[in-house]
Symmetry: C2
Subunit: 284 residues, 2 copies
């Protein structure tokens, strides 16, 4: 099943389920709200079978971030073998984790307006795991069963702010800078463990190209680990970290420039496409 949150002409949003090249819209504001309903799968199936349900051709829909209001977003750093090599670190024994707020998320095709806030805007393509159950102290098997599905995120990072202190948070917490989507694909349809290609390109030039097989801690590992210390709930997000090829790790380093379009793709899910607006300063 493929789920999305669709922006309506009046600015509100509705959750939708894809079937037969169309989005069937539900009477629920977003996938965040939908997946908190224990009967969400039945509701989605009913929408497909309801001849009066409002529907849209895929190409006519304006997609919003599928999960506008996760209660928790936990991000993992240093989790791809190739990215770890790039930073010169050892393969970690434990996942490196930090948190994001819901306001950090933005739409899958949103323009990202950096303005003069950062001169070192970097990209981090990430597989995002969508939680489907209430989980606390989950075993790996329970974590696996508690994964609702997967989506794409780009943990866009302001490296100048990130480098100001030991904690990465302030480089990764800018409102409306982490695009997510375009859709959520349920866990029965794709398998990151079997391997999904992860690609980032800038104006068509591929800068990250890896595969979810390269993950040190896989989706279920991370969900189980996080659930040791905090309750996870339907609609929460775990970002699994980024592969090699970020601007920080290149020689010379490379940052996003005004007008460039970042495309973030995960096989079997889809692509984010985000143009950046950055005020350049002298010497940039």
């Amino acid at each position: 099943m493929r789920l999305a949150t669709i922006r309506q002409p009046d600015g509100t949003t509705r959750a939708a389920v894809e079937y037969n090249e169309q989005w069937f819209q539900l009477d629920v504001a977003s996938v965040s709200d939908l997946v908190t309903l224990p009967t969400w799968r039945a509701l989605a199936s009913a929408a497909i079978n309801d001849s009066t349900a409002p529907r849209l051709r895929l190409s006519d829909a304006t997609l919003a971030t599928p999960l506008p209001s996760p209660r928790k977003i936990v991000c993992c750093g240093l989790n791809y073998h190739d990215h770890i090599a790039e930073t010169g670190r050892d393969v970690p024994e434990y996942p490196t984790l930090f948190a994001k707020f819901g306001d950090t998320l933005t739409d899958p095709y949103a323009e990202i307006n950096v303005g003069a806030d950062s001169q070192k805007v970097d990209w981090e393509a990430e597989l995002a795991v969508v939680i489907g159950s209430s989980l606390r102290r989950a075993t790996k098997a329970e974590a696996e069963a508690g994964i609702l599905g997967y989506t794409v995120a780009n943990d866009v990072s302001y490296r100048d702010w990130q480098a100001r202190t030991l904690q990465w948070f302030q480089g990764k917490a800018w409102d409306a800078t982490t695009p997510v989507g375009p859709v959520i694909v349920t866990a029965d349809e794709i398998s990151p463990k079997q391997g999904l290609a992860v690609t980032t390109s800038i104006d068509g030039e591929v800068v990250q190209s890896s595969n979810t097989r390269e993950l040190v801690f896989d989706a279920a590992d991370l969900v189980a680990y996080v659930s040791q210390f905090t309750q996870l709930s339907p609609g929460d997000l775990i970002l699994t970290g980024t592969p090699g090829g970020v601007g920080l790790g290149r020689s010379p380093q490379r940052w996003l420039r005004d007008g460039e379009v970042l495309t973030t793709t995960i096989e079997g899910i889809g692509s984010l496409r985000n143009q950046f607006r950055i005020s350049t300063t002298e010497g940039y």
Copy 2:
């Protein structure tokens, strides 16, 4: 004005305002909910003047965490001159920030049940700033005006988990381990800049003793800084960091033991009092 969230016999909670040695209860579930109402000051005043408002003697009230559901909690590390000296670091140019989830908070007199999760449980007394306005890219003056008040927090840290990776989050994100309260004192009544004593004791032995004058970045500095990257809203919390005297910085290091009572006091606000339950292991 002094505000609290009071636990009712049926398990629900209500916001309350203190007057004349009594808590006057409002028809709102918590201070989190109360302060999102633009008319909250008028409501609180009305409760004091309402002869039919349910009231409790201070000693009869069971206080819950005053802010059970902040949308955002941002914490600052390394922010007291004496604590920075203890860690051997330089005085920072920028605040070191990380985030917490609302589930991490617990009641001001709650028992904190560590179980076997950590063998290195440490204390961090902190002044917590309660946001009163919507703030984004606030100047220092706007930040100052946007502070609703102050409360006490203890950013109890599992140092074994905190040391697993470069990011502190997982040592500080355990559900129900950060006591907050007992009350919120509005900003017109106390001045951390003028100096408030901050004290932590374990079973009566003082382990932290400092003053909010020692803060490197004061409350308004932190609020203004955080608002550069994310929207702050009424009821959000900023934890301002801890002074010297934590267990990690002592020689030999000292961790909380099963049954010990941690008392965290800030002058003019009040005290948290939390007993710890910790499963000790051999060699501990």
